[in-house]
């Protein structure tokens, strides 16, 4: 594709990419944090230990701010299918519209009905229903993720469709579409990645309080849950889910796999580059340091497996930004490996009961929280850049999908608007979450927080 700056397709792609990357910073924490809230509410219900309720209450506040920004930045995503991608909507709307509508009907209604109840309704609902509200929110957020991933999986690996007489796509088998094998693998991989983000954030706040020697009971809870879930999710995101995802790409998008690895020559015993810069003009990887055979093994199961090279395909079938795709993929796997090492180390110290006294490790945990966000982002960039030049893989080119009637002038105008607005939203988010974290969870002891509840209840009576 022509990535010239005067090309209207470029600006529609840039706007969608910018708004969706920004948007997804919030849902990944929503989906990751939701099950921590469920876990703490469940522990509180089972043990009656007020510390768990305090933890849930504290994280619910951060969850609420995060959720609100996720909602407001999410609505433009659905609308951009029509505004900027009219060609795509016309072509595939009969298929992808099904899941986008289902997301609203089945997931968002559930989620948004219970979020208010969960955040403001603890006193009104009582412990059991408050726990159920948390489950409702968590299920809603994961269900919405599933519908979106089915939509994306269709773009990566279209199934269950039929081309109509007018050349447009319609759905033919709902079950095939909803149960797309690609969607299941992608969903598992993505949800584990969201849990990694959630657990790193929880652990980072725990580490912050531990280093400041504040809220010792709460910080211990956060560190314990954060490192334990963090290790499990970091392992699962790599194996089996990431591994299966790579095999899926190797099977259905071999040219993408070659581009992800910057491989121009096909061959067996294909290696994974640890370091190297793709030089597309010269058709080689500069300064490569490779683990021999690793790619053959990871993608196809044996070291002798043949891995295709880009030279086997015409250049117009290549993803249109091989460099960015290559770096995205390598950044993701490097970070993923580091996450496992960090969380294994932290979990080991935690198991020995020494995590709180390992200052250096707490510092690393505290500062590590942005990296899962980066890993999630570059992971999605790998998936979406790798899909190019197709919008629906093998069926429909990205260049045919954008709105021909919308001028670059209009798209750049709205892009500038989004950049300004989202910058302000980012500042607001940091300010408000920063205040909540600085203020910290309520009462360290059970007695204190129960007293809080009682005062609040008396106030309500007086009013």
């Amino acid at each position: 594709m022509n990535s010239n700056l005067s090309d209207p397709a470029f600006w529609s792609r840039f706007q969608f990419g910018f708004t969706v990357i920004y948007h997804y910073l919030f849902p990944q924490l929503t989906m990751g944090l939701a099950w921590f809230l469920v876990f703490w509410k469940w522990r509180a219900l089972r043990t009656g230990d007020e510390r768990y309720n305090a933890a849930a209450r504290f994280w619910a506040k951060i969850f609420a701010v995060n959720f609100a920004i996720g909602v407001v930045t999410g609505i433009p995503m659905e609308f951009q299918f029509g505004t900027n991608w009219a060609g795509f909507s016309r072509y595939a709307g009969g298929v992808i519209g099904q899941t986008l509508a289902m997301e609203g009907m089945f997931a968002f209604f559930l989620e948004s009905a219970f979020i208010g109840a969960f955040i403001w309704g603890e006193k009104r609902l009582g412990p059991r229903f408050h726990f159920l509200a948390a489950v409702g929110v968590a299920l809603g957020s994961w269900l919405s993720g599933y519908f979106i991933l089915v939509t994306n999986a269709f773009m990566q690996h279209p199934v269950g469709y039929k081309v109509g007489a007018d050349g447009l796509l319609g759905i033919s088998t709902l079950s095939a579409y909803l149960l797309n094998a690609w969607a299941w693998v992608e969903f598992a991989h993505n949800q584990m990645a969201a849990l990694v983000t959630g657990s790193f954030v929880v652990a980072a706040v725990g580490a912050l309080y531990a280093l400041r020697q504040m809220h010792p009971n709460q910080s211990q809870l956060y560190l314990r849950a954060g490192t334990c879930v963090g290790l499990l999710a970091s392992l699962l995101v790599a194996f089996p889910t990431g591994d299966q995802q790579a095999k899926m790409v190797g099977r259905h998008q071999p040219v993408t796999l070659a581009a992800m690895e910057g491989r121009f020559e096909g061959g067996s015993m294909a290696g994974v580059a640890m370091i190297g810069q793709p030089n597309v003009a010269a058709r080689r990887l500069d300064n490569p340091i490779e683990v021999p055979g690793a790619l053959s093994f990871l993608a196809y199961g044996t070291f002798q497996s043949y891995v295709h090279g880009l030279n086997e395909y015409p250049a117009d079938a290549w993803p249109d930004n091989i460099e960015l795709l290559y770096y995205s993929f390598h950044l993701m796997i490097t970070l993923g490996t580091l996450f496992i090492l960090l969380m294994a180390c932290a979990s080991y110290q935690n198991w020995r009961g020494r995590l709180e006294s390992k200052t250096w490790l707490l510092w690393v945990l505290m500062l590590a929280f942005p990296f899962p966000y980066i890993a999630n982002t570059v992971g999605w960039m790998t998936a979406e850049l790798g899909r190019q030049p197709w919008l629906v893989y093998g069926l429909f080119h990205t260049n045919d999908g954008y709105s021909k009637v919308v001028s670059s002038g209009n798209t750049i105008f709205t892009l500038i608007g989004f950049i300004g607005l989202y910058f302000v939203l980012g500042l607001l988010f940091l300010l408000l979450v920063g205040r909540e974290i600085a203020h910290g969870p309520e009462g360290e002891t059970g007695i204190e927080s129960r007293a809080d509840v009682i005062t609040a209840e008396t106030k309500e009576h007086v009013v």
Partner: protein, 349 residues
């Protein structure tokens, strides 16, 4: 089948408009019905935790439109490009002002977000009104089913029209007044004290203002689309809409007179729904009327997805709608009654 889906998609839009319309209205009036910071919190609390639940109806509408009328979504959304993004930005600002305004107990902070809240609600009411006007008047569709519309051209209603012209602006003003009246009626129901009193006064004034404006836009609509009333007379759904409007108007008047707040609010909701049903039925089967040449207009039959896709959507949609109704009952029960700032405010500590 296609007519049914037209009705379903319209229904989702109508539910969104009556639910979020009251928020737009209440939000617009926040500056005049609430004088103190405490009172402004009261107005926010009346909208409070439900705005995202209301906005989901818009998302549900967008998704369903894409699934069943993909070609319409493609034409209309690309054509209304700038207007839609203005709506999206105002929705973002409105949501943010509700969520963050109560977080910091500070005069400047709350004053700023209250201002953003009022302005974004007002602009939203105007833009949705202009959008309704555009649906009635038509857009410059070409033979390919595409159009690209400027925000304004020469303010005429024929030929190469813009989003805003004398007709759509007057519809927008009518909509703003109508939604303000709806919002005032809602605030009467949900609040107590001074806000309640002032809202009741505004509700009376605004509903009175709706009457001449409605007469004016009816006349204007007849000038802009002279063929529509003649067709609507033979459409039973239009008559149903008119009946709902008449019944709702009488109930509304009696509700406001006797101080039956819930009755007045429900009547106001049905009045809005009745107006939209009448309008939606009158333009059917045309979904986008072409101001350039009527034969290029897009009908529901031309823009629908294939039969199989509609059939499949008919299986899951009722289930989703039934679930949404269950949540609706849960939500409205939970938030029934007057709001109290202490119990329902958004302040976190």
């Amino acid at each position: 089948m296609i007519a049914t889906w037209y009705a379903i998609v319209s229904l989702m839009l109508i539910v969104y408009v009556v639910l979020d319309g009251r928020n737009f209205g209440a939000g617009m009036l926040q500056g005049v019905v609430a004088k103190t910071s405490e009172e402004r919190r009261q107005v926010i609390a009346a909208i409070g935790p439900l705005w995202s639940w209301h906005e989901v109806w818009l998302v549900g509408f967008g998704g369903t439109l894409l699934a069943v009328f993909p070609k319409l979504m493609a034409s209309a959304f690309a054509g209304y490009y700038l207007a839609l993004f203005l709506i999206l930005w105002c929705l973002i600002l409105r949501g943010v002002s509700i969520e963050v305004g109560g977080h910091i107990n500070d005069r400047l902070w709350q004053g700023f977000w209250d201002f953003v809240f009022v302005v974004s609600n007002f602009v939203l009411a105007i833009l949705f009104g202009a959008a309704a006007g555009n649906l009635a008047r038509g857009v410059p569709l070409d033979a390919n089913g595409d159009f690209s519309m400027a925000l304004f051209t020469n303010f005429n209603v024929r030929g190469h029209v813009g989003l805003l012209d004398w007709y759509t602006v007057s519809i927008a003003i009518f909509t703003a007044v109508l939604l303000a009246a709806h919002g005032a009626t809602y605030l009467v129901l949900k609040t107590e004290g001074a806000v309640h009193q002032r809202s009741a006064t505004y509700a009376r004034y605004l509903w009175t203002a709706v009457v001449p404006l409605f007469a004016a836009i009816s006349l204007e609509s007849w000038v802009v689309r002279p063929e529509l009333p003649g067709e609507a007379i033979y459409n039973p759904i239009c008559w149903l809409g008119v009946l709902i409007v008449i019944a709702a108007t009488t109930t509304l008047i009696s509700g406001l007179r006797t101080g039956c707040e819930l009755r007045a609010f429900l009547a106001s909701t049905f009045l809005l729904a009745g107006l939209l049903i009448t309008g939606g039925a009158a333009i059917f089967p045309v979904m986008l009327h072409s101001t350039l040449s009527p034969q290029d207009s897009l009908t529901a039959y031309a823009v629908a997805a294939n039969h199989k896709s509609l059939l499949i959507a008919s299986i899951w949609w009722p289930i989703g709608f039934a679930l949404a109704t269950v949540y609706f009952i849960f939500v409205s029960r939970r938030y029934a009654g007057k709001v109290s700032v202490n119990r329902d405010n958004q302040g976190f500590y």
